[in-house]
Symmetry: C2
């Protein structure tokens, strides 16, 4: 039992302190975390603050191309980045199930550290709870994040106008299909890996073109379809996507065909959608393509007047289908 999580690891006593001081702080802790306060005291900065939170319950917690630790960092970093902020500090709250192998926890902690370094954020504060066997599923992680928004950045759905261009930063559906493949024991000829990555550089590249971006979102749960529908609703406008412009990898396409899934409805964890000034769309795509992981960035559609806020996809054969907000992600516990 010495190499597994026990209830006392969440008890606030010496076993919990051990976990924090010998595992979490050395693995991913910055100066604030190492101070072991009730919270972190951080230097203030000028500008508005972006504040985001996300809990991660992905099953299994190791999957092709990533794990729950990396996902938890990137997920919240990306939510902060989509607000137009440069993410600065993250909290990590863990809910561990009794019996979790400490080796798995260490591997996840190392992954948190790596992802935080890549995204340029500091893990400033944390919390650990342990639940009995059968009341969790190994590990759930909440991360919350804060970042500062530079003056002049103004992102809001109500800034969107008919005629605006829709930019996508890369191929869709990879995270969802990667998780599904390992969960269901399916293997595809072309293996699919999660696209989990921080979108900090991508967002900052777009914001470097002053005033050109109306709003940004990362299409996670519910996929591109859910995100475009949310944007259309909030803007009270329609969106028309050209299907052949949307990059989909061979592996994702094959998997979706076999499983009867729509790549537009599958979760991504390292892609962004931006609604932008159409006259500057090409310049923005150029900027984006120079960012690692966004080489396939492209314009995929346009905003148009529509009081019903419809999102449609034009197919290569001249047809058009409506992308509706389905009742939920087809795959549970994808993130």
């Amino acid at each position: 039992m010495a190499d597994r999580i026990v209830l006392a690891h969440g008890g606030g006593g010496s076993k919990m302190l051990d976990l924090i001081e010998r595992r979490f702080v050395p693995a991913y802790g910055g100066k604030a975390l190492a101070a072991l306060g009730d919270g972190a005291v951080l230097a203030g900065r000028p500008g508005r603050i972006a504040f985001a939170t996300d809990s991660f319950v992905v099953r299994p917690y190791f999957f092709p191309g990533g794990d729950i630790g990396e996902l938890a960092v990137n997920g919240t970093v990306n939510d902060v980045a989509m607000c137009g902020a440069r993410p600065a500090f993250l909290s990590v709250g863990m809910i561990l199930e009794e019996g979790l192998p400490l080796a798995d926890l260490d591997r996840i902690s190392a992954s948190i550290a790596r992802a935080a370094r890549r995204a340029g954020v500091e893990i400033a504060t944390g919390d650990t709870k342990v639940v009995e066997r059968g009341k969790g599923d190994g590990i759930y992680i909440n991360t919350s994040g804060i970042g500062w928004i530079a003056d002049g950045v103004d992102l809001a759905p109500l800034r969107i106008r008919a005629g605006d261009a829709v930019i996508l930063s890369g191929p869709i559906g990879e995270h969802g299909i990667a998780v599904l493949s390992v969960r269901e024991g399916i293997s595809f000829r072309t293996p699919v890996e999660s696209d989990t990555m921080p979108l900090v550089d991508a967002a900052q590249a777009l914001l470097a073109e002053p005033g050109a971006v109306r709003m940004m979102r990362d299409p996670t749960r519910g996929g591109l379809s859910a995100t475009l529908n949310e944007i259309a609703r909030a803007a009270r406008l329609g969106i028309r996507i050209i299907e052949e412009c949307v990059p989909v990898s061979e592996g994702v396409r094959a998997a979706c065909e076999i499983l009867g899934l729509d790549p537009f409805a599958i979760a991504n964890e390292g892609r962004l959608v931006a609604i932008v000034d159409p006259e500057r769309a090409d310049a923005l795509v150029d900027r984006l393509r120079r960012v690692e992981g966004c080489e396939a960035a492209t314009v995929i559609g346009q905003v148009f007047e529509d009081r019903r806020s419809l999102v449609t996809v034009s197919t290569p054969y001249g047809g058009e289908r409506v992308l509706d907000l389905s009742s939920g992600e087809p795959l549970p516990r994808i993130c």
Copy 2:
């Protein structure tokens, strides 16, 4: 099934949007939450930022004197307040188990709203995940919080000096015993209710005496014993407590005797410990006693030179016992 949580409530589609727009936003959402962004954009403020996070897994989620919603707000509000900040914004991340009655969720949401109002914080952003039956326990809640620290406030264990006074804001052990009593179906002649409450006013009352407070902590998991040990370790000094000065209610005392528990090791959720300038301790106690819920505030002991960082309790009969950092809270899932 229409009155229970299903997996699709966590799927990012229309069912999740329903949950957020029809339940969470009306119950406890401020302007930022209602905007339904990936995160909240908040006005910056001058001063340092305190940032804290806490996950709550208390079993059962309704207990005498409170519930998991109220606890989740107060817990993080208090961590921010103990940093010397006035808490301003909170995030709420929920992990719901498939099958959770929506009536329970609504009751918890109302409780979150009430607690946030009382503490003077806005729920600015949130997240909802759903896990399968048997992979959770009804509801787990993470809250993270931010607040700003006024200029001149300087709290740190290394400011503590031998001779400093130890102040406690009220009777100990009530939260832990309240949860235990309902969990184990034990009833005591004197019913015990959780002490969960926000410590914002208490902390601000102490900080109104400039420079008098060295540091503050709320003794939650592991009780007063764990907190005093953490303080002593961080300050590299000893702490001596006078047992008869520590307020313990009749109900807690009786419960601890029957169950063989030490009230010093039981969790509190609405008490604070402050290490203060001894010359101003009486003035601080006076200030504290005027705050609702802190009427029994009192000096309970003193800091002394001790390189081993011992925490001891002097008993009424002239004896002395060492309060050590036990391996963990005697009661699992107390918060």
